[in-house]
């Protein structure tokens, strides 16, 4: 029986990980860290919490609302980190702005968001991501996407596709329209959900010039291969530049041999107050929601003092784990009845050796070794027995 206080042991959205799950998670994190390192990214470890005014003020309204907040003893509001991008932007904007660019950072760890239950959503979850800072080029965009794909492969996921859009295209197409907030939100939502019917109604009510009307009405259908870039209507140079950037990124990805893993999608417009250029999401066969997402955010670091462009992504480690069918072994190879010099030797060579500390009888030790999945028992007299 649980004591009454323990009726509900855990708040919603968090989980205990142990045995196989903990081992798998750490193995995934190691594979990601190794991959990022080999591409020249250095680890950065921002604090778990910092002032809400630095995390919150730069986050979009939704992320801000989802932040866990609490008070420091001097009355200032603190917040748990809700992603790595904002803390890294703060560090770069305040401390590293005068270094040789680009800077390449990776971060792996827990982030916290108060979210309603929804597909694949937890309140503490693990992000593993990179930021490529100080380069606003198609090469940098393509490197971020290619690295995200390489990272998924390093995790054993081969059957994946990425959607790729450019926030700058819709921003250019909506510029100077002076829509009120509700219309603007409804329009973006209809475009994001590819809801052609709702979009047509909204556009009819807005009374736009015909070029802009057609450009927007067409958006929900502009997904597929590079051919969609030819069908996009560009109302100005910025829109044209956004389309040309996508063309250049796709060409660059072709150099990596990865162009076939991309679906272009010009209707993509999540996080509009954040992303300023390309944005992408990675989907893997077998999971109904994204395992990776990222994009270009050229205005964020400026909030911390220095305007420096950047692109990055994060992989949802728990989501990847849902897809991995492999079991990580947590079994000892050897159970030794008592301590000996041989054990130190074996451990030094990387074998996993566990010593019995309960002074079990022989049969009890055999039974325990079977339960633990050990392969050998080393008896006190030096005999080795296969389990």
């Amino acid at each position: 029986m649980l004591t009454p206080q323990l009726d509900k042991q855990l708040p919603d959205g968090v989980a205990d990980l142990f045995f196989n799950d903990a081992a798998r998670k750490r193995a995934a994190e190691r594979a990601l860290a190794d991959t990022f390192t080999r591409w020249g990214y250095a680890e950065i470890i921002p604090p778990m919490f910092e002032y809400y005014e630095s995390l919150g003020a730069k986050a979009g309204p939704q992320l801000r609302e989802e932040m866990y907040r609490f008070f420091d003893r001097d009355g200032r509001t603190l917040a748990l980190r809700a992603d790595f991008t904002i803390p890294i932007a703060r560090i770069v904007g305040t401390k590293l702005f005068d270094r040789a660019m680009p800077l390449r950072f990776y971060a792996i760890g827990s982030v916290f968001r108060f979210k309603e239950p929804q597909a694949g959503v937890r309140r503490e979850f693990t992000q593993a991501g990179i930021e490529l800072i100080g380069a606003n080029t198609a090469d940098a965009d393509a490197e971020a996407i290619a690295l995200a794909m390489t990272a998924l492969r390093a995790l054993g996921l081969d059957d994946f596709r990425f959607t790729l859009g450019n926030a700058a295209y819709l921003q250019a197409t909506l510029r100077d329209l002076a829509l009120n907030a509700a219309d603007d939100a409804a329009l973006r939502d209809a475009i994001r959900r590819k809801n052609t019917a709702a979009l047509a109604q909204l556009l009819a009510a807005l009374n736009l010039d015909s070029t802009r009307h057609t450009a927007l009405a067409r958006l929900p259908t502009l997904w597929g291969n590079a051919e969609v870039l030819d069908r996009a209507i560009c109302i100005d140079d910025d829109a044209r530049a956004a389309i040309e950037r996508l063309r250049a990124v796709v060409a660059q990805l072709a150099q990596f041999g990865l162009a076939d893993c991309v679906t272009l999608d010009l209707a993509e417009n999540r996080g509009m107050d954040y992303y300023t250029g390309i944005l992408f999401e990675g989907f893997a066969q077998g999971l109904g929601f994204a395992v990776a997402s990222g994009g270009r955010y050229d205005n964020l670091i400026a909030h911390f003092g220095h305007a420096i462009p950047a692109v990055g992504f994060a992989i949802g480690v728990e989501r990847v784990m849902m897809l991995q069918r492999t079991r990580a072994s947590v079994a000892p190879e050897v159970i030794a009845q008592t301590h000996s010099a041989r054990i130190e030797d074996a451990r030094a060579r990387g074998r996993i050796v566990e010593v019995d500390v309960l002074n079990r009888a022989e049969d009890a030790l055999r039974a325990y070794a079977r339960v633990r999945g050990a392969r050998e028992i080393w008896w006190r007299d030096g005999a080795i027995e296969n389990v």
Partner: protein, 209 residues
């Protein structure tokens, strides 16, 4: 080519949805004849699910595609694509009450109790208007609630309005119009890009006549 899983909403949308799907060359006679929940035809798999569950199946990717009313879709809040409306299953989500509520007085009253199968839509309607509605979530026969004093108002879908009239209720406001829609999982949309495009275009061509 990868196989599609298509979820169809049970209830009043099922018959026209089956008709639409059969016009695309699938054979769903078994769905009419039996109570089977999973059917296979022509390389696709069909799930017959409760309307309010269809958006969930699709959001999680248990189904790639679904056919469901926009009322159930909005209520679920599911993050899915909704590329097509299908022109059938027309209905409206409305606020209704007893005849004596018909004057605008209900909008100014505090402590309104609202019975509904659509708590999210109802909450959203009342809170965006600054009205203090206490939402009572029921799962059927909503019209009963005002008659027995459980609630002052209801939020429910109406088709012809007959059920409202028969139970002495009148429509006070329309929240939104609804019809059947095709919804698509965001991952399937890119992982099965060709099959999904083909399906959307096929349905579109049926609608054009």
């Amino acid at each position: 080519m990868s196989k599609l899983t298509i979820a169809l909403a049970k209830g009043r949308l099922l018959a026209p949805s089956i008709k639409l799907v059969e016009s695309l060359g699938y054979d769903l006679r078994a769905a009419r004849a039996s109570r089977k929940l999973v059917l296979a035809s022509n390389g696709a798999q069909f799930l017959i699910a409760k309307a309010s569950d269809v958006p969930i199946y699709v959001e999680y990717g248990a189904a790639d595609v679904g056919i469901v009313g926009q009322d159930a879709l909005r209520e679920s809040g599911a993050n899915v694509y909704e590329p097509l409306v299908l022109g059938y299953g027309l209905c409206r989500l409305v606020v209704a009450g007893k005849r004596e509520s018909q004057d605008a007085e209900w909008k100014t009253r505090a402590g309104l109790r609202v019975a509904t199968k659509y708590p999210r839509a109802a909450q959203n309607y009342f809170s965006t208007r600054g009205l203090s509605g206490e939402i009572i979530a029921l799962s059927g026969s909503i019209e009963l609630a005002p008659m027995v004093g459980l609630a002052d108002l209801i939020v429910d879908v109406v088709d012809t309005g007959r059920t409202l009239r028969d139970n002495g209720l009148v429509e006070l406001d329309e929240i939104f119009k609804s019809q059947a829609a095709l919804i698509v999982n965001r991952a399937s949309h890119t992982l099965k890009v060709d099959v999904i495009r083909q399906l959307v275009e096929q349905i579109e061509s049926k609608q054009d006549f």
